[in-house]
Symmetry: C2
Subunit: 381 residues, 2 copies
Amino acid sequence: MKTRLVENRQTANYHRSGRTDKGVSALGQVISLDLRSKLIGAAGSEGGPASEETPADRAPVSEELRYAHILNRVLPADIRVLAWAPAGREFSARFSCLHRTYRYYFPGGGLDLGRMEAAARLFEGTHDFRNLCKMDVANGVLNFRRTVLLARVRRVLGPDQEEEEGRREPGSPYGMCLFEVRAQGFLYHQVRCMMAVLLLVGQRLEVPSVVTQLLDIHSNPRKPQYSMAVDYPLVLYDCAYENLEWVFDSDAHAFNVTHLQAMWTQQAVRSQLLYSFLQGLGQAPHKLQADDGPDPLRDWGRAQPPQASQADSLLEGVRPRRYRPLMERERCEGLESRIRHYAKRGRIELPEGMREEEEEEEGRVRRKRRASRDGENGLAE
Amino acid sequence: MKTRLVENRQTANYHRSGRTDKGVSALGQVISLDLRSKLIGAAGSEGGPASEETPADRAPVSEELRYAHILNRVLPADIRVLAWAPAGREFSARFSCLHRTYRYYFPGGGLDLGRMEAAARLFEGTHDFRNLCKMDVANGVLNFRRTVLLARVRRVLGPDQEEEEGRREPGSPYGMCLFEVRAQGFLYHQVRCMMAVLLLVGQRLEVPSVVTQLLDIHSNPRKPQYSMAVDYPLVLYDCAYENLEWVFDSDAHAFNVTHLQAMWTQQAVRSQLLYSFLQGLGQAPHKLQADDGPDPLRDWGRAQPPQASQADSLLEGVRPRRYRPLMERERCEGLESRIRHYAKRGRIELPEGMREEEEEEEGRVRRKRRASRDGENGLAE
């Protein structure tokens, strides 16, 4: 749930923890900004900007303005404030964040979860992720090294399930799974690119070690062309901070839960309905009931080849008829080329090392032109 | 999946099994109509309307036009032909239907399923359902007696569940349930009205015997005012016929399954995402993982009163602050009053019994007016 509250971000000292794309959700989004306070300021005064005081000087937070309640009344229904915390002047939701965790939910049908888990683990550690993001050179992003603290793939348990010893049989193709990844910071579209590669691995179109190849920017300085995963299954799940004392609001909470349960109901009922259609076509398990009549469609459907295409729709774009392995595909423009492109247009400054190269290259070009001109004028050696 | 294929229903001999409202789905919808055929007609001719021949005269149906394939190519994505069957001239999808089965899916949270099941059983049998439908007198529906062959409420199992002996503990509030009802024919909005009453019973706002009261049209000739259940969880699940040999199409089937799985994926992922939000707020069970960090929001949320409002959003309209028992509410206009209303306007004919009453009443009114006029003229006795 993103919160964009103020017009003038500069004077409000507004910072946000995560930048999520249009179709991406967030449970753990955090913003920081200056708000008026009932408690902070000289005794008896109106109160001033909350960030001028340190937490130790405050009156009990239960006496403070009910920020969650006040804000939720003016926010759109799909953006909800869950809690607030007092913070010092130096605090920034963006720069004080210890790490961020994203989750990507997907159905396990037709996918090799073991391979996906192996591939995911290869993402852990400090790597250059230029081949697993959309490079944002125009906005000055020139360093693609990031440290992934955690990258896991696992099944999730549905509402009625409890994990019991001995019940480790592979789940139904309609069971839900999740890719969870944690880092201090992420590049633009990084998680969706990582997920796209994991889906190709899960579909057995690539082997897990393709991740190692993509992270090897010396052998592979330019990114193979591939579509990223779709946006809606992605959620910014958690952003971690130190020394924040969160203040919750029971009424706001109750309202949020009611609202979320209503939304969940709509989605869950619709997916149950569609699941029942797939049962009716013999493509999902169906437990016979005493009252069930004969069902020629279901019986015939059962005899057809089982289809496990649930995850196919999670990759953007059209699927080509014949699969092309990632490493055999056309490559995108490399980093250096993009840097020069934007430096020429004055968008960014050329980095040190490239400036010297650039001057050498210009010198060579000048000398070549002169030689060519001299040649035409009969002055060549 | 409704199918509306032809402009001129009369000449095409078009009949449909079930009439579903805008937001209602169908897996078992059946239509009948005349189609051109590759096989029927004089040997060597183009073929004529398929219904002119009896099934016994036909060439093998595998040689026939691929109706499912042909139609699906021109239908919108959310309407799919699943199969076809040859039928004799006298067949009508509407009048030859033995019975129709509807399903209404709903989450069990906060609902007493035992009471709902008891109430549902009371619907079975032959009853006058005028208090459990939207009367459609304007279109000539004057008889509200229908026979409900089956009315059940039960939990459904999710994709990863198998029913095992001894595992009969009450399901999670996020587990899905279903109301299934079968009858030869249904009145307008009947299932949604029945479901509304079942939801009130499930919420313990009414007792199961309220069904008996609603079916007792002598004591309760006029329907209490109540909202029906929302449309999207309802599906026309099955329509039963005799002596139909369904012909399936493997390619059409494969395409339908792929399409349905993609749709299921979108809904299922979104509902899993929302479920994870509810877990994050401590309002749904969460199994701790090794990598889980501290979660003050979830811990605090767990200590709040649990909310099981999942099914609240299934009743149309706004909930009043104080609940009014059905039998204490305002009543809608009764059947007789509606009949007179539409008969006056020439929409329908007055039934026999009411015509005599009407004439008696008119006689009384005329005599009263005459007496009053005579009185004014000084001619009264």
